[in-house]
């Protein structure tokens, strides 16, 4: 990669999010803003609202503004490919964050989502004493979410006493998840555990469980402040496998800067660890 | 008591009223006369605060008034029955009569009281209108009475009736006149608009005539003859109202052979034939099923059974578009709701169902040909308008009607159904339409004419089918076509049911 717009001495970073109506991405944005201020870079941020076509448009608009670095949080890995190519053709450094993108991405920085699903469901199975009925509260079908579900199913498969009785889509939205989980509990009166693919859905599930006064254990992925708080308070929400959104951005930006400064080799993929947050360590955890 | 002076009004560039005066006294029925588009309705809308005059004064009881909204006119004792219906279709008669003037007790509707009061008003009109059903389900005449009841319930001291009789039968009109006389004797000032001169002579005290937005004059009814009156209205004498009828042609080819039309399941059935080159009148009381019968031939009404042969081909059209292909066209009874595309120009309204002859490359419209043809038919039927591109909704009622007629002349459908072709049309235009119809039959068109005006039915029809309660009870021709005969069948004719 080359320095795209040498005439423009200020570094210009573009960051496109799949959604911003979620603390996870909001905190990424904050980390980006802080980092950019530190290196006196200009930042353009866009919100695709889960629409790949809009995300491509957003990237196109950024390219019009001669960005040097594109931090890409794709809403769909395959769909975004043409934007990646366009950016590369324009000589922009492309780093995918949180979810990978097809095409000539320079570096992908993201959580180990499979691990996250696996850890959460392993924790859930153990907390349930290795037996009982479990349901999955699914989300928007994008790769990271699908990986978490896969990881979860693997962990559940390793616990012979656990049966997966239901998978419903809560669309990662608190109010939708609330209704879905209420219905789940009606359909499966003996439900003992729920794994939610993210904390947004989990908060809705928690409201449903508490509203019904049932003893259902809940685990999730993310480590959102609200979720951590709920876990610390000793609710049915017992665990979330935390990701590190701020670190993803910091690492991603670091990789991009390395190239910007002339590095010829950078890692194609930088997996970021996930960490189990439960009642024991919740007090000290924050994104 | 009411004086309007020097009223001027223009809609955009179109000057509609050029300084019109009107003076109405307490306890008189003041007839307002004029051709279509003369400005009668506009004048009344100005009185009621619905349209603002550009110039002129309104004096009521010696006090100058100008109303911003109809409400204020009502406060001042003015009530109006509009030419266009102003009922809410899904509300009941009671709800309509008291709309915006509900009787309330403690903030809630006093439904019993309103019902009682509505019943009283309708009784006064001498009609029995069901109070609990949406007015959309009422017949046109019943709706008209609800409309009148609504105005009466205001206890207005100045009551405007804009063509209230256009949709009423003679006996219903009589009822209305009785009520008007009562009101007159109570000192109410009534402005009465009608195109029926005989009605004016029967009920009117004085007459004010408008012509093209100009004030022509005011006369006492007793002091003016029909001919003089017509001359005042149209500025010329109208000769011979109805064109002569040709001799009967019983052997003429049958273009519509309706063996059996049954509107409703288990209802009575009708049979009739339409012959080439004739005008077949459909007479009967309002609501006797004439329109529905006509629409079922077109495929626009879901009748229980329709057995019909058109030009020798059996089978009823499935929809008006198929009817059109088979040569039948309809001039509907309500031109505004059923006839005109109000967002279209005159030209576009005329050409709507016949682009056949203005095509280039088979599929595309030839706009200049379209203009040429439509301008010609427009002139043939004498639509009064600045040009073919004028929006049709700025025309007066009569001219709108002519536009719809022009549509069919443009298309040359050999069978035409004219439903109330002269409803709300002035004498001059009426005569023109009569002559036009006769001319068409001479050219080989065949016409079914539905009409509630007996003189029209008698004067124009070669044969007449009389309807009662949903079906034809008699078909009469030649010298049998008298008002006595028609009324006898229309009220006592024997219905036929299929075995």
């Amino acid at each position: 990669a080359t320095v795209a717009s040498a005439q423009d001495d200020q570094l210009k970073i573009g960051m496109t999010f799949q959604e911003m109506n979620n603390p996870y991405f909001v905190s990424m944005r904050e980390a980006l803003m802080e980092a950019a201020e530190g290196i006196n870079a200009e930042v353009v941020v866009t919100d695709a609202g889960h629409d790949v076509a809009k995300q491509i448009s957003d990237v196109e608009d950024m390219l019009q503004q001669d960005i040097d670095i594109l931090l890409l949080n794709p809403t769909d890995s395959a769909g975004i490919e043409s934007a990646v190519r366009m950016a590369k053709d324009a000589g922009v450094i492309v780093v995918a964050v949180d979810a990978n993108a097809n095409g000539p991405v320079d570096t992908f920085v993201g959580s180990k989502n499979r691990d996250a699903g696996y850890l959460s469901c392993q924790y859930l199975a153990e907390a349930m004493g290795g037996e009982g009925e479990v349901a999955i509260l699914d989300g928007i079908p994008v790769v990271p979410i699908l990986e978490r579900v896969e990881g979860c199913k693997e962990a559940l498969g390793e616990a012979p006493g656990i049966t997966l009785v239901d998978t419903q889509n809560g669309r990662q939205d608190r109010s939708v998840a609330l209704g879905v989980v209420e219905n789940m509990m009606q359909a499966h009166p003996d439900l003992g555990g729920i794994f939610s693919v993210n904390d947004g859905g989990a908060m809705g599930a928690l409201a449903a469980i508490q509203g019904a006064g049932k003893d259902i254990k809940l685990t999730s992925v993310d480590g959102a402040p609200e979720a951590v708080d709920a876990i610390a308070r000793g609710t049915p929400f017992i665990e979330t496998t935390a990701q590190f959104p701020r670190d993803q951005i910091r690492v991603g930006l670091g990789m991009a800067l390395a190239q910007y400064w002339g590095a010829q080799v950078v890692p194609a993929e930088v997996p970021i660890d996930v960490r189990v947050v439960d009642a024991e360590n919740a007090e000290d955890f924050a994104w | 008591m009411l004086e309007m002076k020097g009223i001027r009004k223009a809609f955009g560039p179109v000057k509609v009223l050029h300084g019109v005066d009107l003076e109405v006294r307490d306890g008189e029925v003041h007839a307002l006369l004029g051709e279509n588009g003369a400005g009668k309705s506009t004048m009344m809308k100005i009185l009621c605060g619905i349209v603002r005059a550009d110039e002129g004064t309104i004096v009521i009881d010696g006090k100058e008034r100008s109303f911003e909204h109809y409400d204020e006119a009502i406060q001042a004792g003015v009530g109006i029955v509009f030419q266009e219906f102003s009922l809410i279709p899904y509300l009941t008669a009671v709800e309509n009569i008291f709309l915006a003037r509900e009787i309330k007790t403690g903030g809630f509707l006093a439904r019993k009281a309103m019902r009682k009061r509505a019943r009283e008003v309708l009784d006064k009109l001498g009609v029995d209108v069901p109070l609990n059903v949406p007015v959309a389900d009422l017949s046109v005449a019943e709706q008209q009475f609800v409309e009148i009841a609504k105005a009466l319930s205001l206890d207005a001291r100045i009551l405007v009736l804009d063509e209230p009789t256009a949709t009423l039968t003679p006996s219903e009109t009589e009822h209305l006149f009785k009520v008007m006389r009562d009101l007159r004797s109570q000192g109410v000032a009534i402005v009465f608009i009608s195109h029926h001169l005989e009605e004016i002579y029967e009920i009117g005290d004085r007459i004010t005539v408008l012509r093209d937005g100009e004030y022509v004059g005011t006369r006492d009814v007793g002091s003016i003859s029909t001919d003089e009156l017509v001359e005042m209205m149209v500025g010329r004498r109208i000769e011979n109202n109805f064109p002569p009828k040709p001799p009967a042609a019983p052997n003429a080819e049958v273009v519509i052979d309706a063996a059996q039309i049954q509107l409703r399941k288990n209802g009575p059935v009708s049979t009739f034939q339409l012959r080439k080159g004739e005008i077949l009148g459909f007479a009967g009381l309002v609501g006797s099923g004439r329109t529905e019968t006509a629409l079922s031939i077109l495929g626009a009404y879901p009748a229980a059974s329709v057995k019909v042969e058109i030009n020798g081909t059996p089978g009823a059209p499935a929809n008006p578009s198929e009817a059109l292909a088979r040569g039948i066209g309809l001039l509907p009874e309500s031109r505004k709701d059923q006839g005109l595309i109000t967002s279209f120009s005159i030209m576009q309204n005329i050409s709507i169902n016949n682009y056949g002859k203005y095509r280039t490359l088979k599929y595309f419209l030839d706009l200049s040909e379209e203009r040429k043809h439509t301008t010609k038919v427009m002139e043939d039927v004498q639509v009064k308008a600045p040009g073919p591109d004028v929006p049709v909704d700025t025309l007066s009622g009569g001219n709108q009607q002519k536009v719809v007629i022009a549509r069919w002349l443009n298309h040359h459908t050999p069978i035409l159904i004219f439903d109330e072709p002269t409803r709300g049309i002035d004498v001059g235009a009426k005569s023109e339409i009569y002559h036009l119809m006769r001319q068409l039959t001479e050219e080989g068109y065949s016409i079914i004419m539905i009409s509630s005006e007996l003189p029209e039915v008698m004067g124009l029809s070669d044969r007449v089918c009389v309807f009662r309660s949903g079906a034809i009870v008699a078909t009469i021709e030649g010298d049998e076509i008298t008002s006595e005969d028609i009324m006898k069948h229309a009220t006592t004719g024997k219905l036929r049911y299929v075995a």
Binding site: N21, D173, S175, N183, D229 | A100, N132, L138
Partner: protein, 325 residues
């Protein structure tokens, strides 16, 4: 003369009642409700438990409340696409008042209601005085409300509300969940407004024929304004229940709720063109939709397939009921 006219005038009271049921616009929604309930009961054992039925009602309470305002607006021939976004905005700002500004909780609730009514006022002024089509106005205000909520909260949900707020979402009065009670009370109020006051008549009259209503002296502009304000108010009430259920202000809540609310109104037999319909029909529509959602969930149908089935049921219901509108 029309047929129902005749039956109405006929003598026997039993006959009258029968006829009025037969001709009631509620007939078909009720039949639909019964048919769907029976189908669901066969398909899932858990369906016909009191618990589950309460569950359905509670789930539908939020959109069911939105559908009240939607019914008013649709009866006048309008539509309000902004209800879901306004609800989210109300909830977010209300939570902000309690948490970020640290004011007492009741002020937060009051703020929700004020914001809801103000947004309704805004919609109403644009539609009534601005003479702009409701569908476009509320499409735009939907964007605006949604954006404002997100700008205010920075995209974060606002949590940390006083505990008693949850009473509105998960509390009970005499064993019945509060949201259900709130919903039913609001429906009752709406019924009185629509059927027993002049205002209600005017609402219907505008949907029936606006020009005629205006000519008859109905202040059509004011009525339209009120109708949108009612919709804003019910959005705020829905926000209160939602906030109680989620114990947080959610700027992103309520996406596409307007579509469900419209579906409820129309399933309930109200004509989309206005002028005809009953508020009780909307309640039935809400329950019907709830039962469909719940039943499909209980049967464990693939969630993607659920949308397909829901769409087909809506089509079927409207198709059967179409003579009525």
């Amino acid at each position: 003369m029309s047929h129902d006219a005749e039956t109405q005038r006929s003598s026997s009271p039993v006959h009258t009642v029968l006829a009025s049921i037969k001709h009631s616009p509620l007939l078909l929604p009720l039949v639909g409700l019964i048919v769907v309930s029976i189908a669901m009961a066969f398909a899932s054992d858990n369906f016909f438990s009191v618990d589950n039925l309460v569950n359905v009602l509670r789930q539908q309470s939020i959109i069911g409340i939105l559908a009240i305002g939607m019914t008013f607006v649709i009866l006048t021939g309008g539509i309000d696409l902004s209800v879901g976004a306004v609800m989210a905005l109300c909830g977010t700002l209300g939570a902000g008042v309690m948490v970020n500004m640290g004011l007492p909780g009741w002020l937060g609730l009051l703020a929700m209601i004020v914001v809801g009514i103000l947004f309704g006022l805004f919609n109403g002024i644009l539609v009534a005085w601005g003479k702009m089509p409701a569908i476009i106005v509320t499409l735009a205000t939907m964007l605006i409300a949604r954006g404002l909520g997100l700008v205010y909260s920075g995209g974060y949900p606002i949590s940390g509300l006083p505990g008693w707020v949850s009473w509105f979402g998960i509390g009970r009065i005499g064993g019945i969940p509060t949201p259900i009670i709130i919903m039913v009370v609001l429906y009752a109020l709406a019924w009185v407004l629509l059927q027993r006051t002049a205002f209600g008549r005017h609402v219907y009259s505008i949907g029936g024929n606006e020009t005629a209503a205006n000519l008859s002296g109905v202040n059509t502009k004011r009525i339209k304004l009120f109708v949108f304000m009612i919709s804003g108010f019910t959005s705020a009430m829905a926000a209160i229940v939602l906030t109680g259920r989620l114990m947080s202000g959610q700027p992103g809540a309520g996406v596409a709720f307007e579509l469900d609310a419209i579906a409820m109104v129309v399933l309930g037999g109200t004509a989309i063109a206005g002028g005809r319909g009953l508020i009780l029909g909307t309640l039935i529509g809400a329950i019907l939709l709830g039962i469909i959602n719940n039943g499909l969930n209980l049967m464990g149908i693939n969630p993607y397939l659920q949308d397909v089935i829901k769409g087909l049921i809506i089509l079927l219901a409207i198709y059967i009921g179409r003579e009525w509108r």
